[in-house]
């Protein structure tokens, strides 16, 4: 049976959920907290979002979307342009390469894998920042940011899980 226009529009809107949700969270994460020294404590929402959707719905988080999210992240966060993009793409690719592992992993194992990937990504961003700024940048804020990102991971995991159930349950592919 051919789907009607409205059905197609509806499924298109649903397919956009991961991307739109990520962008919204990214915008919210840069709202003021009244102190420049809180900045390093702001978790890297983009990293969690890209990781989650790459694991659960890679069809809805293609590398093009990852690129756009990374670009927005770099432009908003005044990070050296391109560093965040590259780190997010690497996380996306790493998940894609080990699809079999991620398909069977439980929550704990996923968290652990995220810890490894997030550390690697932050290290990459740090290295690129040093290279692009041309000076050795202090590493400790980056470590702090990874820790906070790991701590907030379960909350966002839950949130994304709920959204997935709400908007994307119908077209669930076989994992």
């Amino acid at each position: 049976m051919q789907p009607t226009l409205w059905q197609r529009l509806d499924s298109f809107a649903r397919a956009l959920t991961p991307f739109v949700l990520t962008v919204l969270l990214l915008l919210v994460s840069m709202t003021p907290v009244r102190s420049p020294y809180l900045a390093p404590v702001i978790p890297s929402i983009a990293l969690i979002a890209v990781y989650y959707w790459s694991v659960f719905r890679p069809d809805l988080m293609p590398s093009g979307a990852v690129f756009l999210i990374g670009l927005l992240h770099d432009l908003i966060g005044v990070a050296p342009l391109g560093s965040g993009v590259l780190a997010l793409l690497m996380v996306h690719a790493a998940v894609g390469a080990q699809r079999k592992f991620f398909a069977t992993a439980g929550f704990g194992l996923l968290w652990l894998a995220f810890a490894v990937l997030a550390s690697a990504a932050q290290l990459l961003i740090w290295l690129l920042s040093c290279l692009l700024i041309g000076r050795l940048v202090d590493l400790s804020p980056a470590i702090l940011q990874v820790a906070v990102t790991l701590a907030i991971y379960p909350c966002l995991f839950w949130l994304f899980g709920r959204c997935q159930q709400l908007f994307l349950r119908e077209a669930e592919p076989v994992r």
Partner: protein, 291 residues
């Protein structure tokens, strides 16, 4: 599924995988390209950033409103609880300030008289714009804040950003409705200052830590913890004599400055326009043909 579509699918699947891989490589290449672009054409990137933040200004302002309300309410409750104490403190402070005011008026008159005597050129006029801090940058490597107000409000690149207690930073990017202030603690911040009673010149350089360090001090300069650091006005960008901070530690490794600004309560910034006629414009005009 008939035979024909089966064939198409068999052909299309590896093709799709190949396209995906190719697209990934392309995107990685684009990311590297962006890095080079960011390094080569800072002006373009700056403009893109400013436009993006400008477009987001209404959202930022809307969200910063409740945060400000909660902050104010909490502060008000705290103040209510200590009303009597604060009142007494303010009375005492007021008396002290009145004394200072009297002295300042006398000194100002004396200064004018002496300046007149020496035929000193009067200092250029300063213009103040006050803007609310509406956002900070969620990045581990940059210390900057966004303020509500742009070129329309008279904010211009290079202006000094002050709080009541001292220098906080300088305006680095100006949009139509939003400007970015680079804080003195940022790794890219370099500010000409003078230190201590001898007014030794130095450059205060940020390194993303809360306490910037002093560079290019003359050998043999003796500094003590607690010495006052003010802007020197060299370079013509900042007015001289803006309070910056005080010397926090003096070691063999260098001198650290503790800024006066309370980073946890950065609500409003006063942006000081220092109209040194023509200096910066001339400089830009000189550079422009060279580019």
């Amino acid at each position: 599924m008939n035979k024909r579509t089966g064939k198409v699918v068999r052909l299309a699947t590896p093709l799709k995988a190949w396209t995906q891989r190719f697209a990934f490589l392309l995107l990685v290449g684009a990311a590297l390209g962006l890095m080079l672009l960011g390094k080569a054409d800072t002006l373009l990137i700056e403009r893109a950033r400013t436009q993006l933040v400008d477009a987001m200004a209404p959202l930022l302002e809307a969200v910063s409103e409740p945060v400000a309300t909660v902050n104010d309410t909490v502060a008000e409750m705290r103040d209510l609880a200590r009303l009597r104490e604060i009142n007494a403190m303010l009375r005492a402070e007021n008396e002290r300030l009145l004394d200072w005011r009297r002295e300042a008026i006398a000194l100002k008159a004396q200064n004018a008289a002496l300046g007149d005597l020496l035929k000193l050129t009067p200092d250029v006029e300063r213009r103040y714009v006050t803007a609310r801090v509406i956002g900070d940058q969620g990045s581990a490597f940059v210390r900057s804040v966004l303020v509500a107000g742009g070129s329309g409000a008279g904010i211009a690149k290079g202006q000094a950003a002050l709080t009541g207690s001292g220098l906080a930073g300088r305006v680095a990017e100006v949009g139509e409705r939003i400007s970015r202030v680079l804080l003195v603690t940022d790794i890219n911040s370099r500010i000409p200052v003078q230190v201590g009673p001898a007014r030794s010149r130095a450059i205060m350089a940020g390194d993303n830590s809360p306490q910037p360090s002093l560079l290019y001090l003359l050998p043999g300069t003796s500094l003590q913890v607690g010495d006052r650091v003010t802007t020197s006005g060299h370079g013509g960008l900042f007015p001289p004599g803006l309070p910056v901070g005080e010397v926090a530690e003096v070691t063999d490794g260098g001198v650290r400055v503790r800024p006066y600004v309370d980073w946890n309560h950065l609500d409003y910034l006063r942006l000081v326009g220092y109209e040194l006629p023509g200096l910066i414009e001339d400089f830009i005009a000189q550079r422009a043909p060279a580019r």
